[in-house]
C-alpha cells in the first residue's frame, strides 16, 4: 500500500469525528459496534433499558449480544402451605411471581399468564421454564415452555398423565438456539410395570414420540442432556439414550454410592457442564456431612471424584441444576455448590465446609432472605434457579 493511500485510509477511518459538526456529534449516533460493546458490559435488565433509550441504540442483532450476567437469577412464587389442596410445592397457584436479579440485587414482580396459573414446574434452563397442567381432556397433560423474562409461551403437545413423582422432563437447548436443536424429553420410570418410557417432542410438533424399554431401575435421581445424549441417573446405574439412533445403553456405577433418603432424591443430581462438556454428579454424603462431586470419564464411563471445581460453580435444585463458569460476578463463588431451600441459600465447597452466611460471596443470594415488608409470615417462597436469556 502506498504512503498516500494509507494516509487516506487513516483519514477516512477518523472521519467520524472530523467531519461531524457539533449538532451531529450526538450520543444517539454512536457506531453500532460501540453500542454493542457497551451492551456486553451490561446486565440483562440494563440492556433492556439501554435499548429503550433511542432508535439507534435498539440494535437488531441483540440476540448475538451476551449480557454480563454470570449468576443465575431466582424465579420465586408463593407457597400455600396452609391449604392441603395446594400442597404440591412445584405448582404455581398464585397469579404473579418474582424474579430476583443477583447482580443488580433487585426484585421484580411479574404477572403470570392466566394459562399458566396452577401449572407445575418441571424443568428450568436457558432462561425457559418447562411446565405442565391438566388439559381439557383430564386424562392428559398439557405442556408449555415459558420465558418469564420475555413473556413468551410455546405450547407443546399433550401427553397421557403419569405419576408426577416418577417423571422427569428436560430440554436439550433453548428454543431460540441457532446452533443446537431444542428437544424436549419426558422420562417416566413405571416401576410396577417394569417399564422405562422416554417421550420426545420439539417445539411445533403435534405429538410426542414415545420409546418404551422393558427395564426398571427404580426412582430417577437425575437427568441431563450431555453431548446430545439423554442421561438418567439411577441408584445402581447410568442410563444413556441416543435420540438419533433411538437406542439405549446402561452403565453400572463404578463406585459405591451410599443409599439416598427420600428427601435427598428431590435434587437433580446430574449436571452438564457446558464449558468443558463434562457430566457431573452431585452427592450428599451423610457420613462426612459434605457435598461430593463426581465427573464421568467418557472413555471408560466411570465416575471419578472431583476435589475442586476450580473454574466452575454449581447450582442444584430439583428442576434446575446448572453449571456456571466462574467469570465476572460468579468468580466470587468459584468452586462452590449452591443449594436452596425455600428462601434460604447455602454454598458448600466440595468435600468441605459451608460458606459463611455473612461472606461477601454469599451475599449474592442471601439478601433475598431479607424480610420484605407487606409479607405474611405464613406465606413462604418456592424458588427455582433461572438463567437470563442472553447470558450464554
Amino acid at each position: 500500500m502506498g504512503i498516500l493511500s494509507c494516509f487516506k485510509t487513516l483519514i477516512s477511518l477518523c472521519d467520524g469525528e472530523a467531519a461531524t459538526p457539533a449538532a451531529v456529534k450526538s450520543w444517539s449516533n454512536l457506531p453500532e459496534n460501540i453500542t454493542s460493546l457497551i451492551m456486553d458490559h451490561l446486565y440483562y435488565p440494563d440492556q433492556i433499558r439501554f435499548r429503550a433509550v433511542c432508535k439507534s441504540w435498539r440494535s437488531d442483532n441483540v440476540f448475538a449480544i451476551k449480557s454480563a450476567d454470570t449468576l443465575p437469577w431466582v424465579f420465586a412464587y408463593r407457597k400455600y402451605n396452609n391449604d392441603p389442596k395446594k400442597e404440591d410445592v412445584y405448582c404455581i397457584y398464585s397469579s404473579s411471581f418474582f424474579l430476583y436479579d443477583p447482580s443488580g440485587k433487585r426484585r421484580y414482580t411479574i404477572e403470570l399468564p392466566k394459562v399458566l396459573v396452577n401449572a407445575r414446574i418441571l424443568y428450568s434452563k436457558y432462561g425457559w421454564i418447562l411446565l405442565s397442567k391438566s388439559s381439557i381432556d383430564f386424562r392428559r397433560l398439557a405442556f408449555f415452555l415459558y420465558c418469564p423474562f420475555t413473556g413468551k409461551i410455546i405450547e407443546l403437545p399433550t401427553l397421557e398423565k403419569g405419576n408426577p413423582f416418577d417423571e422427569r422432563l428436560l430440554m436439550s437447548a433453548s428454543p431460540n438456539s441457532s446452533t443446537t436443536e431444542c428437544i424436549i424429553f419426558s422420562v417416566r420410570s413405571r416401576i410396577r410395570k417394569n417399564i422405562l418410557c422416554i417421550s420426545i417432542c420439539r417445539p411445533g410438533d403435534k405429538t410426542w414420540t414415545s420409546h418404551e424399554f422393558l427395564c426398571s431401575f427404580g426412582k430417577i435421581h437425575g437427568v441431563a442432556c450431555w453431548k446430545g445424549l439423554l442421561c438418567c441417573m439411577f441408584s445402581e446405574q447410568l442410563f444413556v439414550f441416543n435420540p438419533e439412533t433411538k437406542t439405549m445403553k446402561t452403565y453400572p456405577h463404578s463406585i459405591n454410592l451410599p443409599a439416598v433418603t427420600v428427601e435427598e432424591v428431590t435434587a437433580n443430581r446430574l449436571i452438564e457442564s457446558e464449558s468443558d462438556e463434562k457430566l457431573l454428579m452431585i452427592y450428599f454424603d451423610r457420613d462426612c456431612h459434605c457435598i461430593r462431586v463426581f465427573y464421568l470419564d467418557s472413555s471408560q464411563m466411570n465416575w471419578f471424584e472431583l476435589e475442586n471445581l476450580a473454574d466452575k460453580l454449581l447450582f442444584v435444585g430439583y428442576t434446575d441444576s446448572i453449571s456456571v463458569p466462574a467469570r465476572g460476578k460468579a468468580s466470587e463463588l468459584a468452586n462452590t455448590v449452591n443449594l436452596k431451600s425455600g428462601e434460604s441459600f447455602f454454598s458448600y465447597f466440595p468435600r468441605g465446609p459451608r460458606l459463611l452466611h455473612s461472606s461477601n460471596a454469599q451475599m449474592n443470594y442471601s439478601w433475598i432472605q431479607q424480610p420484605w415488608w407487606g409479607w405474611n409470615n405464613i406465606q413462604e417462597l418456592n424458588t427455582v434457579w433461572i438463567q437470563p436469556p442472553s447470558s450464554r
Binding site: C6, L10, E17, S28, I38, H41, A68, G104
Partner: protein
C-alpha cells in the same frame, strides 16, 4: 534511543510520541509496518482528544515496561502497590471523563478508529457503569439524547419487558 513519531492532530498540533507507546494503536502500528509512517502522521483527531488518548497509552506502556524489569524479590508487594496506583489513576481518568461527556464521546470514537481495544473496552465499561440501574429517561437526560420513538413504539417497547421498567 527510542524511535519517535510525530502525530499531527486535526487542529495541526504536533505530538512527539515513542513508537512503543503509539504502536498500541493497531491502525498506526499497521502504518508503521507498511512503511507508510514517515514524517508527520496526520490524524483527524482533535488535539484535546489525542492528548487524552496518549495519556492512556503512556500509562499502559509504563505499566508493561515496569513489569518486564521486575525481579521476583518483593514482586508481590510491588505488584499490589502498582495495582493500587493504576486503580487510582484509572479512577481519576474515569472521573474526568464522567464530568465531561463530550470528551468521553470523542475518546470513544477515537479509540474505535485508532483501534485501541483496551481503551475502547475500558470506556465501554465506564459508560455501562454510568447507565446501570437507570431508566431510559434518566439515560437520555445524562447524554442529552432525544427520544425518537413515537408514543406507540414506546408503549410497545415497555409492554414487551414491562418488569424491567418498574420504578
Amino acid at each position: 534511543m527510542a524511535i519517535m513519531y510525530a502525530l499531527k492532530s486535526s487542529d495541526n498540533e504536533i505530538f512527539e510520541v515513542e513508537q512503543k507507546v503509539i504502536e498500541q494503536s493497531e491502525t498506526i502500528k499497521k502504518m508503521i509496518e507498511d512503511g507508510a509512517a514517515t514524517g508527520e502522521i496526520p490524524l483527524q483527531v482533535s488535539s484535546k482528544t489525542l492528548a487524552k488518548v496518549l495519556e492512556w497509552c503512556k500509562q499502559r506502556q509504563h505499566k508493561t515496561v515496569e513489569n518486564e524489569n521486575d525481579d521476583n524479590k518483593g514482586k508481590r508487594k510491588k505488584e499490589r502497590d502498582e495495582d493500587d496506583d493504576i486503580k487510582e489513576w484509572e479512577n481519576k481518568f474515569s472521573d474526568e471523563l464522567k464530568a465531561d461527556k463530550d470528551v468521553l464521546f470523542d475518546l470513544l470514537l477515537a479509540s474505535n478508529y485508532l483501534d485501541l481495544p483496551a481503551l475502547l473496552s475500558f470506556l465501554c465499561q465506564l459508560v455501562a457503569d454510568m447507565v446501570a440501574g437507570k431508566m431510559p429517561e434518566e439515560i437520555r437526560r445524562m447524554f442529552n439524547i432525544e427520544n425518537d420513538f413515537t408514543p406507540e413504539e414506546e408503549k410497545a417497547i415497555t409492554a414487551e419487558h414491562g418488569w424491567a421498567f418498574q420504578p
